[in-house]
Symmetry: C3
Subunit: 217 residues, 3 copies
């Protein structure tokens, strides 16, 4: 078992983590493009907001871990990918109707949420942080981008206010990673399991319109 | 005198600073709970906003001083305390009326303001920064949490706009710490003096409705 | 040529960069004063917003490069200058009409934009970052202050939404610096050229009301 883990970490894990990261980044960038277009921003503003949504959470994670250069500097193909997504999405969405987007943006966003929360918790565990910190790191790196996207668009963050479990899904995903790490399972396994659990819960929550209790205003 | 200072710093000061910090953190968390509930957020959103209010200013201070791990990572009982405050306050406030809260939140908030501004200035002085930087550090670490709380709730920060002296109180508290440090008084004394001065001014400002001049809009 | 560059960097460049920086900081502070007064903030709130506008972009640049102390700590005359600008502008603007300001704030702001984008890109180039990162650094350090100023004033950032090229001007200025650096021209020359190009474009865009395309909301 231990041998398998070592082999996996040496060869498979970096590639696996990198492909997770690029998918999550693109999903969040797309959510930024849609948010920016809804506010009637110009094309440069849309790219800026897409960048905040895509890189905000991970940049906080890197600040937290005092990791330099930031992940988007080290892997600058991520920046080019986000710019590509902005160009493509702007083109497609200006031709087709914008209403179409609200539904299909939620699937990549759910995948991004699952991916980034699992990855954030995994990195914190590898660095030797305590469970509560690992879970918080998963939560921040997966949700802060979307929260900042809404803050910069002058909106009350949807993650706080639409009452569908979103941050809670990140908590669950991070907790799964932490729990499986305590059991000694290999990182690739726990990342995949957490991704599956959290993305499924999120999609179920969207499909069946689950909601968390709110207070009277 | 010098001997007293040394003894104090070695034994009393860390405990004293830690208990100051936990009280300030809880007071700010409570202000975040109230703010989040007013905006009708779900329970996870309320916890997130409480966390921003409680840890925002101190996290900026740690980023500024390049101190890792952040104070809430090193003392993770602070996180548990904030979660406890959120659970307790949510329970109490959903049973009783929310109007009750506006008045009594201002007392712990005034204490938190006094505590955090004194502590921020003291840490900067110990690190050898110039007076203006020590004062700014006191101001940022005590007010940025509340400002970010309002920004994330999509409100104009109350600290800027309600015209009651708030940031100014932090300036006064930090200046008292800086002034007493120049006079060579021991840190515990200057922390207590600053806390007393700034909290008293803040409470007087609230009680008698003092206000700063604004411009016509 | 190489000798000239060395001599320039040793003697002229630091002074030149410092004077660029102070002008840009004051221009942005002034934009913060105007924004804060429009929102009816009290005088301390106005100073806070002016500080965010003046130091926000550069602080992000310093966090990015992991440079401590922050530039406004090392050069604390910048803080005094911003406080001076706040006091002076508050006095002048409370005597004269506020409408006057919208027009004349745009000239120093255009200069600040040109200066900070050129400087940000130049610093990133000196540190050996790739072209895309140098350009992004120019863009962030020149525009993030203004964006944060609007976010903290609870407004949709003008840089995203007024459809006049603003962030795009920063992209152009940074690209000029990067391009001339590749050609091997001395930094002072490329800084001046970028400043001239970007400030001119910005002023032309304001004068003739150029606008970028937006999407239907």
């Amino acid at each position: 078992m231990n041998l398998i883990t070592v082999v996996e970490q040496a060869t498979f894990l970096p590639t696996f983590q990198a492909s997770i990261e690029i998918m999550a980044v693109l999903a969040f960038a797309l959510s930024g493009v849609v948010a920016g277009m809804r506010k009637g921003l110009d094309i440069v503003g849309v790219c800026f907001v897409a960048g905040i949504a895509a890189f905000g959470g991970g940049t906080f994670r890197d600040l937290f871990l005092d990791r330099r250069p930031f992940f988007w500097v080290e892997q600058d193909y991520l920046i080019w990918s986000v710019l590509g997504v902005c160009a493509l999405a702007s083109f497609v969405l200006s031709v087709r109707h914008a209403e179409l987007t609200e539904k299909w943006i939620q699937i990549p966003d759910a995948v991004g949420l699952g991916l980034f929360s699992a990855l954030g918790a995994q990195i914190a565990i590898e660095q030797g942080y305590s469970p509560i910190i690992a879970i918080l790191m998963g939560v921040f790196s997966s949700t802060l981008g979307g929260v900042l996207r809404d803050v910069f668009c002058n909106e009350l963050p949807k993650a706080f206010s639409d009452h569908r479990p979103y941050i809670l899904v990140a908590v669950i995903g991070s907790t799964v990673v932490q729990f499986l790490a305590v059991l000694g399972l290999p990182p690739t396994f726990s990342l995949l399991a957490a991704l599956l659990v959290s993305t499924t819960i999120r999609i179920m929550a969207i499909s069946w319109d689950w909601s968390l209790p709110a207070w009277r205003q």
